[in-house]
């Protein structure tokens, strides 16, 4: 048995719909590691992938970054992404142990600080830039996010 590109897509879809953040699968010498958000370790090792997968670019690294990679129809239409304004370490709370800046379900306006991105000890507050209700928080606290990576999904206010 070997993994096809379609299998990988199916597994990604399952992970996306699940409550898990990380999936590690090993079979027949193929090691597949999937992770939501920007994790520390490089994901899907290309050289380990069987030839049948290699020609099709494996979309694993974009699993949480590109909305197109998420299952169509499952994500509510009209949601707005809040993206990282720069590369750095993402923090949900002002200090360890303190309450997060925002939670799912919370109402925010454009000026609401939704998190911090740290670049070499310089803390950059991230304003929401949109007003509405937080539907999902995709970024993982304490992990690296890249420039433009989707941190949260917001249902914007009507009008």
């Amino acid at each position: 048995m070997s993994l096809t590109a379609r299998d990988v897509e199916e597994i990604m879809r399952l992970l996306e719909a699940s409550t898990f953040d990380r999936l590690s699968l090993e079979l027949d010498g193929v090691k597949l590691e999937l992770e939501r958000g920007g994790g520390g370790a490089p994901r899907t090792r290309r050289e380990a992938a069987p030839a049948s997968i290699a020609p099709a670019p494996v979309p694993a690294p974009t699993i949480a970054q590109a909305p197109a990679a998420s299952p169509q129809g499952e994500r509510e239409a009209g949601l707005v992404e809040i993206t990282a304004p720069l590369l750095g370490i993402y923090y949900r709370a002002p200090k360890p142990g303190e309450a997060p800046f925002v939670e799912v379900g919370q109402r925010i306006d454009t000026e609401t600080v939704i998190g911090i991105v740290e670049v070499m000890k310089l803390m950059n507050a991230v304003p929401a830039g949109v007003s509405g209700e937080i539907v999902e928080i995709l970024a993982i606290n304490g992990e690296l996010v890249e420039h433009g990576e989707v941190l949260m999904l917001v249902r914007p206010d009507a009008g």
Partner: protein, 474 residues
């Protein structure tokens, strides 16, 4: 808001990993560059079994390097100032993605001492020289002083104090010589003295003009090199004073100080000059306890058969493949080994020059429009292959050439048992190269390779300008 608590937590975590990783081997490299050199570094890293993380701007997310690397991390918008030139962002990307080392490539941050220094303090291995070495060679006056101290010849000349001193200095330098304005540069504020007897008059005039033009009347004297060749020596140092050289490269085919064709060995260079140049380069680098790959550049004065130190480049260079072709040594692999603490894995006797190699740079520039940059999308890219042919490029079908970066998009290198064979192979290879969708200088390069003077070998840095003048004069 108070973030000090977190600062502590994270710096202590880093401190632990710093101690633990420092002595271990490099396992994952962050490549802080783009284009062909990013692809080039990834290839060697993969061959060594190392993981690669490529820092990309928004414009390079879909680049070949981004697809080849184990992971691509977007570090910012397309403009280099917002992405590739951000020292803190690069180091944060390395730390956050678990990289033990950073390879800076060439250009961008490659010779920025602040990147090397931040790596040093954060416990990330910088694949290059120390911050202090970058500073030592980055300052022209300091580098000249180091050259003199290492008994490496520099262009004779210096500041003048009074007319009598100027006469004495001029006699020492010998005519022809240049009177240069301290405030000038880039060819401005220079006067040629063909006979030392005319010196006083020309100096008065030059000084008055410099005062008007630059607000600084000071002038200095320098030997005039009517016909000069750019010859540089590749060195590797272990950081503890041991340095070897990997032969020289002749980069005299230049347009407006931009190298276009490079080759090794330098054709028709007297053997004693070649040996002296190699030795001088090694002395210079050894004096600095130079670590990693570097290049010592010389100006070879054809008429006087003398060479002078120009500068040292503290990085891998664009034209490094010609050296790799004749020596069989992977310079990027040696850079990584040295950074890893393995020292020099070769002795001078291990370095053998086999045949000759010539490289042309493929620039996305339109010679018909005065070499204006030609960014865009490459619809078709057909690169040559065959015996002795190597192509270093990130350009494949559909590749985008963003307008924000250098126009050099590929290097085509030919190796052969002798220069004539290498040249014939290179000319045939250019005939097999087809790039559509953008303008390139490939046809221009083919014409240059076909020039009888180039075919003979040993042209000086005025070669391309004379060709251009002949073309417009006809």
């Amino acid at each position: 808001m108070d973030f000090s608590g977190r600062r502590l937590v994270h710096s202590s975590r880093r401190a632990c990993s710093r101690r633990a990783w420092r002595a271990l081997t490099i396992r994952r490299i962050l490549i802080a560059n783009r284009g062909e050199i990013a692809v080039r570094i990834i290839r060697t890293a993969q061959a060594l079994g190392l993981e690669t993380v490529l820092a990309v701007s928004e414009a390079d997310r879909e680049s070949l390097g981004a697809r080849m690397a184990d992971r691509a991390l977007c570090i910012g918008p397309a403009r280099p100032n917002d992405s590739y030139l951000r020292v803190e962002t690069i180091v944060q990307a390395a730390l956050g993605s678990g990289c033990d080392a950073i390879h800076p490539g060439y250009g961008f941050l490659a010779e920025r001492a602040d990147l090397a220094r931040l790596c040093e303090t954060e416990g990330v291995i910088f694949i290059g020289p120390t911050a202090a070495q970058i500073e030592a060679v980055g300052d022209k006056l300091r580098a000249r002083a180091e050259a003199i101290a290492a008994d490496v010849p520099v262009v004779p000349g210096g500041p003048v104090e009074n007319p009598a001193h100027a006469q004495a200095l001029a006699r020492e330098i010998g005519a022809p010589l240049l009177v240069k304005a301290v405030g000038g540069g880039g060819g401005r504020g220079m006067k040629l003295v063909e006979d030392v007897q005319d010196l006083a008059g020309i100096m008065d005039m030059a000084s008055a003009e410099a005062g008007t033009a630059f607000g600084d009347a000071r002038v200095y004297l320098e030997r005039y090199v009517a016909r000069g060749r750019h010859v540089e020596v590749q060195v590797l140092g272990d950081g503890a004073g041991n340095v070897i050289h990997l032969g020289e490269r002749d980069c005299s085919v230049q347009r407006r100080y931009q190298k276009l064709i490079e080759e090794t060995p330098a054709p028709h260079l007297p053997d004693d000059i070649r040996d002296a140049m190699h030795e001088a380069a090694v002395r210079f680098a050894a004096r600095l306890d130079y670590r990693g790959a570097g290049t010592v550049e010389f100006l070879y004065d054809v008429a006087r058969e003398q060479f002078y130190f120009l500068e040292m480049n503290a990085r891998i260079q664009v034209e490094h493949p010609v050296t790799e072709m004749v020596t069989g040594i992977d310079l990027v692999a040696e850079q990584i080994a040295i950074a890893n603490g393995d020292g020099l894995r070769l002795t001078q006797d291990d370095v053998r020059i086999n045949g000759a190699a010539i490289e042309i740079r493929v620039n996305a520039e339109d010679p018909a429009r005065n070499f204006a940059p030609s960014p865009g999308t490459v619809s078709t890219a057909r690169w040559p292959s065959g015996e002795g042919i190597r192509v270093d490029s990130h350009i494949v079908n559909g590749a985008k050439i963003p307008p924000f970066y250098d126009s050099m998009v590929a290097k085509i290198i030919a190796h052969g048992p002798d220069r004539a064979t290498a040249l014939a192979r290179l000319r045939a290879a250019l005939g097999d190269t087809h790039i559509e969708g953008i303008a390139t200088n490939i046809a221009f390069q083919s014409e240059t390779l076909a020039d009888p003077d180039f075919a003979h070998g040993g042209v000086d840095t005025g070669f391309l300008a004379r060709r251009a003048a002949r073309a417009t004069g006809d």
